[in-house]
Subunit: 307 residues, 2 copies
C-alpha cells in the first residue's frame, strides 16, 4: 500500500509482522490490539530516525492503526494490504509476566507474505529483519543494495524447522538478536556468554542477548557491553518489548550514523528505555506517545542509576 | 579465641557463621570446605579495610583455616573456639546453579553461639550483621557504641519463626540486604521495587536486593542504584556469593569513609567483582587469592562495559 508518494530513502527499514494481538494478563484482557514485531520495532526506531516498514496486513486492518504509524512519522510504502485477514496472535500471560501461553496463531495474509522492498528503500543504510522465515529474510537481503548495518531476529520455530536457511542468513548480518532461551537453543550452550561467542562464530560481528527484566548484553569478538533493565514497578504487558528494544537500538545507531562503542552504549540505553515504555501499557499505547526528548530524559536518569 | 593481642579498632566488624561446607555441584564435590557467611564477608571486606570477625568454631577447626583469615589480615579476637564441633552445612546444586538443596545442617557449637564483641571492636564504625537469629543480632547492637553504618542480612527461617524480633532489628540498621526471594517473602510484594520500598518503611535507609546472576539494586527513599552482575563464563560454586557481596560493599564504604552516592556506586562495583571471584571456585579459594589491585582492575573493566 503506497501511502506516501515520496521517494525519500529511510534511515532504517524494518521488515516483519504487523498484526492483531489479543492479550490476556492477570489484570485485563484486550482484543485485536495493534501488534506484530515490525510495529513495535518501527515505532521505536522512528523516535530517532526516518523509518520505513515492510509488511502485510489484511483488508480488515483499521484506518486508526494505519494512523498510528503515520503519526509516528513512519513511511508506509512497504506495507502491503492484501485480500484476506490480518495476522492474529492470541495469548495469555501468567501472573508473574515471565511466561506466556499462545492460544492461537492465525497467520492469514502473513502466510503468503512476500516482502517486496520499495525502490526507495533499497539503499537504506540500516536494516532490521524481524522474526520471519529465514528464506524471506534472505529474499530481503537480496533486494537491498548493501546496508551498512543489518540486525536479525529469529525464533525457535526457525531454529527447529529451517536451521540451514537460518544459518545462511545469520552469516550475512551484522547483529543477531535473540533472547536467553533462543540463544541456548540455537547454540546448545547453557552459559549465555558461551552462547554469544558461538553466535559470533556463525558470522555476525555482534550477538545481542536479551534477558527481559534482567536487561541485555551485547558481545563482539573482543568486547562486551552490559545494560540492566529499566526498573519497572509493574509490568502491564511485556508483548513486543524485545522488538521495541531492537527498534530503539537500530534507530539510535541510524541517528548517530556510526556503529562505535560509545554509540552502541547510547543505543542500548535508549533501547532499554523504549522497551520499558512498551511494558507500561498494552500494545504500543505508551510507546507511541513517548517523545524523543522524554525518552532521552529517562535515558539520562537511567545512566545516573548505573556506576 | 584471642589470636592477636592488639587493641586496634577495626574499620569493619563482621558477625556471623564460620562453618564447614560440604558442597556438591554437577562437576565436583568437596567436603568440609571453609564456609559460613562471616568467612566470605570478612575476607571480602578485608580486601579494603581493617576487618574483625565475631563468630564461633569448634575444636575441630583446622589451623590452616585460621591461617586463611590471618593471611587475609583479619583480626580474630572475636572468633571464639568452643568445645564441640564446628557448624557443618552440606548441600547440592542443580545443574544450572540457580537452585540448591540442603542435605544437612549440623549447627553444633553454633547452636549456643552468644556473640561477645571484644572491647576493641565496640567503637567500630562499620558493622555487618550476617544471617543469625535476630535476638543475637540485637545483642550485638546492644554491645556496640554507635556504628556509623550497619548492614543486616537475614533469611526465610527468621522471617517465618521470629518475625517480630526480626522487625525490631531491621528498625535499628541502615541497610537491609536480602535476595529476591527473601524480599518478596518478607514484604509480601511480588514487584521487587515495591518490596524494596516496603523495606524502607520498616526503618532502614537502604534496601539492597541481590538478584544473583542478574546483579543487584540498592534503593533509598529518593534514589535507586543498579548494578548488573560481572559476566561469568562459568559458575563453579555460588556458595557465599551474597555474603561476599556484602563484604565487598561494607569494606569499600569503610575504606572510603563516607556513605555517599558515588561511594555506594564504587562499593556496588567492588562487591560485584568480589562476588564473581567467589563464584569462580569452591569456598574462598579464588577470593582469598585476589588482591585489591587486581580487583580494582576488574572493577575498572566492568565499569567500561556499562553505559
Amino acid at each position: 500500500m503506497t501511502t506516501t508518494a515520496n521517494s525519500m530513502v529511510p534511515d532504517v527499514v524494518v521488515v516483519g509482522s504487523v498484526a492483531f494481538d489479543s492479550v490476556q494478563t492477570s489484570k485485563a484482557a484486550h482484543e485485536k490490539l495493534l501488534g506484530g514485531s515490525a510495529s513495535y520495532t518501527s515505532i521505536a526506531s522512528a523516535l530517532f530516525a526516518k523509518t520505513g516498514v515492510v509488511g502485510v496486513v489484511g483488508m480488515d486492518f483499521p484506518p486508526e492503526y494505519f494512523e498510528i504509524f503515520r503519526t509516528a512519522g513512519i513511511d508506509l510504502q512497504g506495507l502491503q494490504q492484501a485480500a484476506g485477514k490480518t495476522f492474529h496472535w492470541s495469548g495469555v500471560y501468567e501472573d508473574n509476566m515471565n511466561n506466556r501461553r499462545t492460544n492461537s496463531t492465525d497467520l492469514n495474509v502473513f502466510a503468503d507474505f512476500n516482502p517486496v522492498i520499495p525502490e526507495a528503500y533499497r539503499t537504506s543504510p540500516f536494516l532490521c529483519l524481524e522474526n520471519i522465515a529465514p528464506a524471506l529474510q534472505a529474499r530481503v537481503l537480496d533486494q537491498m543494495a548493501k546496508p551498512k548495518f543489518t540486525v536479525l531476529d529469529t525464533m525457535d520455530l526457525w531454529i527447529n524447522t529451517t536451521r540451514e536457511e537460518l544459518m545462511n542468513v545469520i552469516r550475512r548480518v551484522d547483529l543477531l538478536t535473540v533472547n536467553e532461551h533462543e540463544a541456548r537453543h540455537l547454540t546448545g550452550k547453557g552459559s549465555l556468554l558461551k552462547a554469544a561467542r558461538k553466535i559470533l562464530e556463525m558470522g555476525p560481528k555482534y550477538a545481542l542477548i536479551k534477558k527481559g527484566e534482567h536487561g541485555a548484553f551485547l558481545m563482539s569478538h573482543d568486547d562486551i557491553l552490559i545494560v540492566p533493565a529499566w526498573p519497572l514497578v509493574e509490568v502491564v504487558d511485556p508483548t513486543g518489548a524485545g522488538d521495541t528494544f531492537a527498534g530503539g537500538l537500530i534507530g539510535t545507531l541510524a541517528a548517530l550514523g556510526d556503529v562505535t562503542r560509545e554509540n552502541l552504549h547510547t543505543a542500548l540505553v535508549n533501547a532499554t528505555v523504549a522497551a520499558a515504555y512498551t511494558c507500561e501499557a498494552f500494545s504500543v499505547d505508551r510507546l507511541r506517545h513517548a517523545t524523543r526528548a522524554e525518552l532521552e530524559a529517562r535515558a539520562r536518569a537511567f545512566r545516573r542509576m548505573l556506576p
